[in-house]
C-alpha cells in the first residue's frame, strides 16, 4: 500500500503499530532506553493509519499546534526529513516531546480515530522523524536573522528556557542562558531518567543551540551569583526570561521523615541521573544501595514512576508505589504506568503513610500506613480519599522516596521583590505575553504553572520569546 492509493477503509484496517521495546526482564537490569524506536517500515505503516482529516482535530490537542496531519502525510510518503522539518516549524524539541509528552491527554486524545479505533501514534511518529533526522546526520541549522543588537538573558536551561532561547536567537537577538547546575537541560537531565530520555538527545539539541550562537553559562545561580537587577542594569540585558522550574521538593510532614534512607524524589533522581551514581564508584557520588532492598515511592505522578523504576533498576527486591488514591487518579502517563507494571513494580493503592519507623541507628525500617477509600470529589474533581478506621499496618521498607510534588524555589522572589508571586510562590504573568509585573522581565514553565509538562513549558518559552521580540523591536515576531 502506498500513500497515494489507499482508501480510508484500508487505512482503518491497519492496527496501531507498537514501538519495539526492550523486554521487561531485560530492561530492569539496565539504564538503556526502554523503547527502541520505529523502523522506517513501521513508521510508514503507522502513518498510513492517519485518515488525513479535513479538520485535523488532533492539532487542537497539541499545546504548540504542530501540523500533525501534514507531517504524518510526509512520513507516509517516505519523506522523513520533510516530516522532521515540518514538525520543527512548531516544536523545537521533537525528539524529546515525542518521548515524554502525555499524548493520551493531548494530541492522541483528540485524534478522530480514538473514538472507534486506537488513535494514530502521533508521539511515536514525531519521535521517529526527529530521530531519523538526527541519526542520519541531517539536522540543518535554521537561519538566523541579522543582529538586532539586543541582548536577552534566559535564566534556567529547562525546556522553557531552551525554547525561548531558540526563538530569540533566530530572531537575531543575542542570547545568554544562565544555569545553576553544572549541566544544561533542567529536569530533562536531572529528573527524567536515561531509560526514558537518553541524555545524548538532550545534548544534541543543546549543541544545536550553541551552534546558532546561544551562549550558555553553567554554575550561575540567579539570585546568588547574579541577580535579575544586575542582569538588567550592570550587564545591560534588554530583557530577562525566567524559566527556573519548580525546584523545591515537598515533604509529607510526618514523623520520621529525616530518618536515614528517606529521600525526596529530586535528590534520588539527581544523584542517579545528574551525578550518575548508578555508575558508582566510577562516578564519585553515592546513592542508597537498593540491591535486595525494599523501596517504597510515595506519589502517583511521572516523577514517582521514574523513581520507582530507577530503584528497580538499581536492584530493589520489592519496589512499591504507595498512593493515596486509585490507579485511575494517577497523574502519570499511561504508558509509564504500563511499563512500570510490566517491570514488576508493586502498586499499594489507597494507602496513606502516617509515620516512618526506624531502628536505633536511625535507619528506616518501615512505614506505617492507613488504608483509604474514595469519598466525594474534591476541588480537582478527583474523588477524595478518606481513611478507613483501624486499618493501620506497617509496610517493611529500607528506603523511601517522597514524590508528592514541588513548590517554587524562593531565590528569585527573595532577591527580586518587585516580581509579583502568587500565594504558592509561583510567578504571576500575563498568560498572553508571559510578562511579569517587572518591566522587561518575563517568566514561563513550571515556575509559573507549578509542576506541569515539557510541552507546556516549551510553549510558554515561545510565547515569551515572541512577546520579548515585540517589546524590544516594536514589531510582531510573525
Amino acid at each position: 500500500m502506498d500513500a497515494q492509493h489507499i482508501t480510508t477503509k484500508e487505512r482503518l484496517a491497519i492496527p496501531r503499530q507498537e514501538m519495539p521495546a526492550q523486554l521487561p526482564e531485560v530492561r530492569i537490569h539496565n539504564f538503556n532506553e526502554v523503547h527502541l524506536g520505529y523502523t522506517p517500515e513501521l513508521a510508514r505503516q503507522e502513518a498510513l493509519r492517519c485518515i488525513q482529516c479535513k479538520d485535523p482535530v488532533c492539532i487542537k490537542g497539541c499545546p504548540v499546534n504542530i501540523k500533525i496531519d501534514q507531517f504524518i502525510k510526509l512520513i507516509a510518503e517516505g519523506n522523513f526529513l520533510g516530516a522532521a522539518k515540518k514538525i520543527k516549524e512548531d516544536n523545537v524539541l521533537p525528539a524529546i516531546c515525542g518521548r515524554v509528552c502525555p499524548q493520551e491527554d493531548q494530541c492522541e486524545k483528540m485524534c478522530i480515530l480514538t473514538k472507534k479505533h486506537e488513535s494514530v501514534a502521533i508521539g511515536n511518529l514525531e519521535r521517529f522523524a526527529a530521530d531519523y533526522e538526527r541519526e542520519t546526520g541531517n539536522v540543518e541549522l535554521p537561519s538566523v536573522k541579522s543582529s538586532t543588537a539586543k541582548k536577552v538573558a534566559v535564566i534556567g536551561s529547562g525546556p522553557a528556557g531552551l525554547s525561548c532561547a531558540n526563538d530569540l536567537i533566530q530572531l537575531g537577538h543575542a542570547v545568554t542562558v544562565f544555569e545553576a547546575l553544572h549541566e544544561l537541560g533542567g529536569v530533562l537531565v536531572y529528573g527524567i531518567p536515561e531509560f526514558r530520555l537518553p541524555k545524548e538527545i538532550v545534548k544534541a539539541e543543546i549543541e544545536g543551540l550553541k551552534q546558532l550562537g546561544v551562549v550558555f553559562v553553567t554554575n550561575a545561580v540567579a539570585g546568588r551569583s547574579i541577580t535579575v537587577d544586575e542582569l538588567l542594569k550592570e550587564e545591560h540585558f534588554d530583557a530577562v526570561f525566567i524559566g527556573v522550574g519548580a525546584g523545591l521538593p515537598w515533604f509529607m510532614g510526618i514523623l520520621g521523615e529525616n530518618l536515614l534512607g528517606v529521600y525526596s524524589a529530586n535528590e534520588f533522581l539527581t544523584r542517579v541521573n545528574l551525578m550518575k551514581s548508578y555508575q558508582f564508584p566510577e562516578n564519585d557520588t553515592p546513592v542508597f544501595n537498593c540491591k535486595g532492598k525494599n523501596v517504597a515511592v510515595f506519589g502517583g505522578g511521572n516523577t514517582a514512576m521514574d523513581a520507582v523504576r530507577t530503584a528497580k533498576r538499581l536492584g530493589a527486591e520489592h519496589a512499591y508505589i504507595v498512593y493515596r488514591r486509585s490507579k485511575a487518579e494517577m497523574p502519570a502517563r499511561l504508558e509509564e504506568l504500563h511499563h512500570a507494571e510490566k517491570e514488576g513494580i508493586e502498586f499499594m493503592l489507597l494507602m496513606n503513610p502516617v509515620e516512618f519507623i526506624g531502628n536505633d541507628q536511625q535507619w528506616l525500617t518501615g512505614v506505617k500506613c492507613l488504608k483509604m477509600e474514595l469519598g466525594e470529589p474534591d476541588d480537582s474533581g478527583r474523588r477524595r480519599p478518606v481513611p478507613i478506621k483501624d486499618s493501620e499496618f506497617i509496610l517493611p521498607i529500607d528506603m523511601a522516596v517522597i514524590s508528592i510534588g514541588n513548590g517554587s524555589n524562593p531565590l528569585i522572589k527573595q532577591t527580586t521583590p518587585d516580581i509579583e508571586v502568587s500565594k504558592r510562590d509561583t510567578i504571576v504573568v500575563d498568560m498572553n505575553t508571559m510578562a511579569t509585573s517587572k518591566e522587561n522581565v518575563y517568566a514561563g514553565g513550571d515556575i509559573v504553572t507549578g509542576g506541569a509538562t515539557v510541552i507546556l513549558a516549551m510553549g510558554a518559552g515561545r510565547t515569551a520569546a515572541a512577546a520579548i521580540h515585540e517589546k524590544l523591536m516594536g514589531v510582531s515576531a510573525k
Binding site: A174, A180, S225, F251, N258, T270, P281
Partner: protein, 302 residues
C-alpha cells in the same frame, strides 16, 4: 564576566572571551598536615560573596559536588580562597592540586550570609578546619565594631591553623590544644567556660567545628542564654534548595541547610539527627577513599 563555554565567539554586539568552563588555581599551600589553603580564580564569586557563604565544587568530570566555605576573597584580583581538610576522596583529590591546576566546576556564593551586627562582645570558636569557616565571620564581626574574642582549637600544635590571621582580627585570641602541646591545655568549651566564669559579658558565640564540639558549646552557653550560632555541615548535593538532602531539624522544623542556613541557632539544632544523617554513605565513602589511597600509593611506586 562569567566563564562561558567554547572558544572566542562573536555574538552580535558583545564579544565573550570564551574558554573551557574550568577554574584556575592561583596558589595552593598546606597550612597544616592535610589542611590546604587554595586560591582560585572566580571573579564573580569574589565580588559577591559575604561572610558565612560557601561554594559547591566539583573537582573533576566524574566528581561529586562538595560544599566548602569561602574563607576569603580578593575582589580586585578576582580570586576566592578555600581551606580544605582532606577527609575522603573528593577533599584529598582537591588537596593534591597545585597552582596552575584547574577545577572543573565552582558555583556560588551559596547559603544565607552570616547575620552581622554590632552585638557587643562576640566569641568566635573554631575547631580544627572549622577555624577556616569561622574566620571570615570573625573578620566581618570585627568590621562591624564588635569586641572579638577568638578561641582556636586543635588536637595538637601542628594542627593549629590561621593563628596569625585570627589574632589579627581579635581583641583577645586564645589557642587550645587537646594534648596541651600549645596554648591552653583542653577543649574549646573549657576555655569558653573560663571566660564566662570570669564574669565577662558575652553577647554572641559563634561555634564552628566537628558536630560534637558544636553541640558541647551549645550546652555551655544554654544555661546563660547566650545567643549561640553554629554552621551546620550536612551532606549536600546541589546546594540550591532543589533536593532536600541537606535537611536538618531546627526547633523541630525541617530546614534546608543550603538555603535556610548553613548558620542556625545552636540551642534549637537537633545535633543527633545531623550526626546520624551524616553517616548515610559511610560504606561508600570508605570504598572511594580506600580506592583513592590505593591509586595514590600505586602512583608513588610507579
Amino acid at each position: 564576566m562569567f566563564t562561558p563555554y567554547r572558544t572566542i565567539q562573536q555574538v552580535s554586539i558583545i564579544t565573550y572571551e570564551i574558554e573551557e568552563p574550568m577554574y584556575q588555581i592561583v596558589s595552593a599551600q598546606f597550612l597544616a598536615e592535610n589542611i590546604k589553603k587554595i586560591e582560585i580564580e572566580a571573579p564573580r564569586i569574589a565580588k559577591k560573596r559575604k561572610a558565612g557563604q560557601f561554594v559547591m565544587i566539583r573537582v573533576g568530570e566524574t566528581g561529586e559536588r562538595i560544599p566548602l566555605t569561602i574563607a576569603g576573597s580578593d575582589p580586585e584580583k578576582g580570586t576566592i580562597t578555600i581551606i580544605v581538610q582532606g577527609m575522603g576522596k573528593s577533599t584529598r583529590e582537591l588537596n593534591r592540586k597545585e597552582a596552575g591546576d584547574t577545577i572543573h566546576d565552582i558555583v556560588g556564593p551559596l547559603g544565607t550570609p552570616s547575620h552581622i551586627e554590632n552585638f557587643g562582645t562576640a566569641v568566635s570558636i573554631g575547631g580544627g578546619v572549622g577555624t577556616a569557616i569561622a574566620y571570615p565571620t570573625a573578620v566581618a564581626l570585627k568590621e562591624a565594631g564588635n569586641n572579638v574574642i577568638t578561641i582556636n582549637g586543635a588536637r595538637s600544635k601542628d594542627l593549629v591553623i590561621l593563628e596569625k590571621e585570627m589574632a589579627a582580627v581579635s581583641d583577645e585570641a586564645y589557642i587550645t590544644t587537646d594534648d596541651g602541646s600549645y596554648g591552653f591545655h583542653g577543649f574549646v568549651t573549657q576555655k569558653l567556660q573560663e571566660l564566662i566564669d570570669s564574669g565577662k559579658k558575652i553577647d554572641l558565640v559563634l561555634a564552628i567545628g566537628p558536630i560534637p564540639m558544636m553541640r558541647a558549646v551549645a550546652e555551655v552557653t544554654r544555661p546563660y542564654n547566650i545567643k549561640t550560632v553554629v554552621s551546620l555541615n550536612p551532606i549536600m548535593v546541589d546546594g540550591t534548595g532543589m533536593c532536600g538532602g541537606c535537611r536538618v531539624t531546627v526547633n523541630n522544623e525541617t530546614k534546608f541547610a543550603c538555603v535556610d542556613g548553613p548558620e542556625f541557632d545552636a540551642h534549637q539544632v537537633d545535633f543527633k539527627n545531623l550526626m546520624d544523617r551524616n553517616k548515610l554513605y559511610l560504606p561508600e565513602e570508605k570504598h572511594s577513599t580506600d580506592a583513592f589511597a590505593h591509586k595514590c600509593h600505586m602512583h608513588k611506586q610507579a
